[in-house]
Symmetry: C2
Subunit: 582 residues, 2 copies
């Protein structure tokens, strides 16, 4: 159950996706040593403070009583230590008290936070989303009185979107915001699935809430974004009276038991508008996009944690004779099927990590590059990759956590072993912040069609260049060929989707996202393998082995997946639900 | 949460895998109407008696106190109703009180038992395994005094194999059986993971236990099979004194909470030898093979249950605008991505069901055919298919249960919804009765090599004939082409494995099993689609749609999967565990 912070993996992965170059041009005060020092320190904090709480948090969970939520045992103290260590403000603007590090580094640090304790990590993750929203759209007062408290983490943030009848479809939400006559509003309504909606770990909780004003038009154009706080904020920044809002209950969930998932009741709560009236959804999407990428990182994180536990077990557990060991009983790591499983887990983790960190670096370039042209190009690719980073990585999280249980055999099914918790925790990530199906629809319906498909085509062209480079290396030629074939399949599927919008695209959305993630993940592994080539260090040598395994087990499926994309929706359309029920 | 017994699906699936022909030649007294009546009655029992206990069994579970296990609330009464209904003895020999139905029909009935309540189904499933062992290897006394009680279900059975140091490797077990001087034995040792090892639902519990006699050689040749009972059995068949055995504790598990998983302590328990000394493993494999096929059926069952719940939710839940509905909000079934998900779930269920029922029919033919040649051919194919039926179907169980959670969105992660229980329950099936990795090793190491590969080659030839037939139909030509390509890939992978034994085979075992299951599953769907062709009934029409979807989404991957099989083990062999740890 021991967590080992994957500092070396993260530093290498950052380097392989261009983070060094980003630092050189945009963060002249940061060098590789500083990056390493920050990762090491984060690794120590997550290992020593957060990881030991993970199991107890699962067993005891957050609790609800008398209208208040109490965080799981030890979580409030850990959160205060997290804030005191400055971990909440890594990428925030120094102007608001942040440390001004790159988004990509912050993601790397948060991978360790989520891996050590996913339920804990959700609290600062939501705060970050609130920081994004107020940084871009907050009023002068909000930026002066609220934003700095969120940046330090003294106060925490939440996103209040979902209502019972309005989940994926936010146009259906009904929470009301009535003007109070003094420039403020009163919020009335019920929100559900509010992560860390209430707790006792911080002095105040800042809720960003989607609601409708009385004269607003129906649909999404009538939705605005509001800020309301558990305790009112006086003009001098001090805490005032409790606001008229409260948690109604918390959910009994499959996993992440230490993350309180609240029903929030707004009973005339005092609130302020954030940004412009009727712009609630666009403003909220600023938060959603950052959160989506973070959820992708959670997928990587829970997979890494499950992998570590399975790898350790495979070395300790001895059973039978193995072809790759003279010992009897042999460590099960020496059984080929177990070793293949573990290496495939690791390969998928590194592929997903590469996709998420690449998206992080693009976020930084989109903000920091000198020319608008370069910023726009980076932003477009970041937008293209965000749904893939979220969905593909969280699918990997579930798959790897399931394989982690399997490696343990019967012990994996026993809760005390801990592998089962990862399998339970991992399952939420494909659901929240927009289900993976919603992400896939976003990919084929909006992102892919940006610039008539040029963003994906340019990515494919760049991946083909990598494939050519790989093919020139004797050791990696098989990876190059598989990547080239994968890119060709992705181009074929892309062309079909661009020519077939509407139902054909929507029916193919998830198969296409899987194909894209498989291929882009192979690109990530190919680049890592090239960066590691020629070394005798066993860890660096394994990068080539992982890329070759991924090429034969995953990239090889790409042509078939493209066939699945191009099938067309006629059979789906012609099949009513009662035909499936028998 | 309502369970709907899939009677029509099962009757159709039985028919498509040759059960009618089996009945005509071997069960002249059984006709289609009798089959339908039995399935209907089993459907009513599972729906009315077992399904309502499933959720409460998950929440409250079996309990352990003062050295005894108490079944979950309602389970003991339900078990007695199960016995009273005659459901325990469907395929047992009438000579021992059984009803003499086909194994395939028994599997169909048990699919409904497991789907309605998987934790419950384990109890009679283990009893069946004990019935198999005593029928084939029991002494006259065991057949006279114990077997009839197991057949009716008045007493239940268990399999005692695993010890802490001996899981997949049964050669390492250490439980001792000392001769008592009167022809009997005394058992001493500890067994773990004993399903329904103790409970209060039946009058007696019969444990089949692997143990070593004092002079036995080391390794598997020193292992013998023993029968010991919770209460001693007097020579007149009445119950005697309690035996010196007891449950030490029950496990706290991820799922199947109502199935008590016991540590069993044998403290000089009186026991009898079953079969021959030193033949414990071969005798136990009789039980294991039947149990493995039943576990495959559990995979189908939990997938069916998860599918039903997701399909119902998709019709009730309304969200957003959908291309295939004029309603706003539309049922989410009318969103193409949700519909594709549900149809793929259904297609995989039908593929797995076909594989399991085919294996069941082969079991019957292997027992009942007139000529030894035909019996041997059926037995060989049954042996080939058993590891595929077990592993591929249980992988489908986990995958479909996970998709079932996903279809529910946020509600899927809330325990009250019930989808999460299926995801938790499903996870044990790839582990117990031999992990899926062990099954894959059995497939490539033993089953595939029977008759130098002829058993698989003949299966491939038969599948190709079906593919040709499909290709002649305009509606199903795409299925035929995909199946032919899949069979070609399977033949290529088979040839490679036959030419590359040892580590290359072991490293490729799981990818090969997945490939074989994917292709054979496609064969099953193709045969169902042919049987249903030409009808206007929506349910029958959907068989073609499901086969085409499976062809484009699953069979299309077969060539890539074959590449994965043929990769070779060099990279695995060259990668030590520390190279993966960083």
């Amino acid at each position: 159950m021991t967590f080992r912070a994957p500092v070396r993996d993260l530093a290498f992965a950052l380097s392989a996706v261009g983070h060094d170059a980003l630092l050189a041009r945009a963060y002249p005060e940061l060098d590789a040593d500083t990056v390493a020092a920050v990762l090491e320190a984060a690794g120590a904090f997550t290992t020593e403070v957060l990881a030991p709480l993970n199991r107890r948090g699962d067993i005891e969970g957050a609790t609800y009583a008398n209208g208040r939520v109490t965080a799981a045992p030890g979580f409030a103290d850990a959160y205060r230590a997290f804030v005191a260590g400055g971990w909440n403000s890594l990428s925030a603007d120094p102007e608001h008290g942040g440390q001004g590090l790159s988004k990509a580094m912050e993601l790397a640090v948060f991978e360790m936070v989520h891996a050590s304790n996913m339920a804990f990590g959700l609290c600062p993750m939501l705060t970050q989303a609130a920081i994004e929203a107020l940084t871009l759209h907050g009023s002068e007062r909000q930026k002066r009185l609220v934003l700095p408290k969120l940046v330090t983490g003294e106060w925490t943030g939440t996103m209040n979107l979902t209502e019972p009848q309005a989940g994926s479809d936010l146009a259906a939400l009904t929470t009301r915001a009535e003007p109070d006559g003094n420039g403020g509003y009163r919020l009335t309504g019920q929100k559900i699935f509010i992560t860390w909606g209430d707790h006792d770990a911080a002095d105040n909780i800042c809720h960003l809430v989607l609601a409708r004003t009385p004269d607003a038009p129906p649909g999404v154009k009538g939705v605005s974004l509001f800020l309301t706080t558990r305790r009112l904020v006086e003009d001098d920044g001090s805490l005032g009276a409790p606001n008229d809002l409260r948690p109604g209950s918390i959910e009994h969930k499959l996993g992440i038991h230490a993350s309180p998932t609240c029903v929030m009741l707004f009973e005339g709560a005092k609130a302020e508008l954030v940004g412009e009236l009727g712009q609630g959804l666009p403003h909220m999407f600023v938060m959603m996009n950052a959160a989506r990428l973070q959820v992708g990182v959670q997928g990587v994180a829970i997979a890494e944690r499950a992998f570590q536990q399975a790898l350790a077990f495979s070395q300790e557990r001895r059973q039978g004779k193995a072809v790759w060991s003279a010992d009897y009983p042999a460590a099960i790591y020496d059984h080929p099927d177990v070793r293949r499983t573990l290496m495939l887990m690791k390969a998928k983790i590194e592929a997903a990590r590469g996709i998420c960190l690449t998206t992080g670096v693009l976020t930084d370039i989109a903000r920091l590059a000198d020319s608008e042209e370069e910023r726009a190009a980076a932003r477009a690719r970041q937008e293209l990759l965000t749904p893939i980073a979220k969905s593909w990585s969280t699918d990997v999280g579930v798959e790897v956590a399931s394989l982690g249980v399997q490696v343990h055999g019967g012990m994996g099914f026993i809760e005390e072993t801990g592998a089962a918790q990862h399998y339970r925790d991992a399952r939420i990530a494909p659901i929240y912040e927009g289900t993976n199906g919603i992400q896939a629809m976003d990919l084929v319906g909006r992102k892919l069609r940006m610039a008539d498909g040029a963003v994906m085509r340019e990515l494919c062209a760049e991946m083909l260049l990598t494939a050519e480079g790989l093919t020139e290396s004797a050791e990696l030629a098989a990876v190059g060929r598989a990547l080239a074939a994968g890119v060709a399949a992705l181009e074929r599927a892309t062309g079909w989707l661009l020519a077939n919008g509407g139902a054909p695209s929507l029916a193919a959305a998830t198969p296409y996202l899987t194909l894209a993630g498989d291929v882009i993940g192979g690109w990530m592994l190919g680049r890592q393998a090239m960066a590691a080539a020629g070394s005798d260090d066993p860890w660096l040598k394994s990068k080539g082995a992982l890329a070759r395994l991924y090429a034969s087990q995953v990239l090889s499926l790409a042509p078939g997946r493209a066939d699945g994309v191009c099938q067309g929706p006629d059979d789906l359309e012609a099949t009513p639900a009662h035909a499936l029920a028998g």
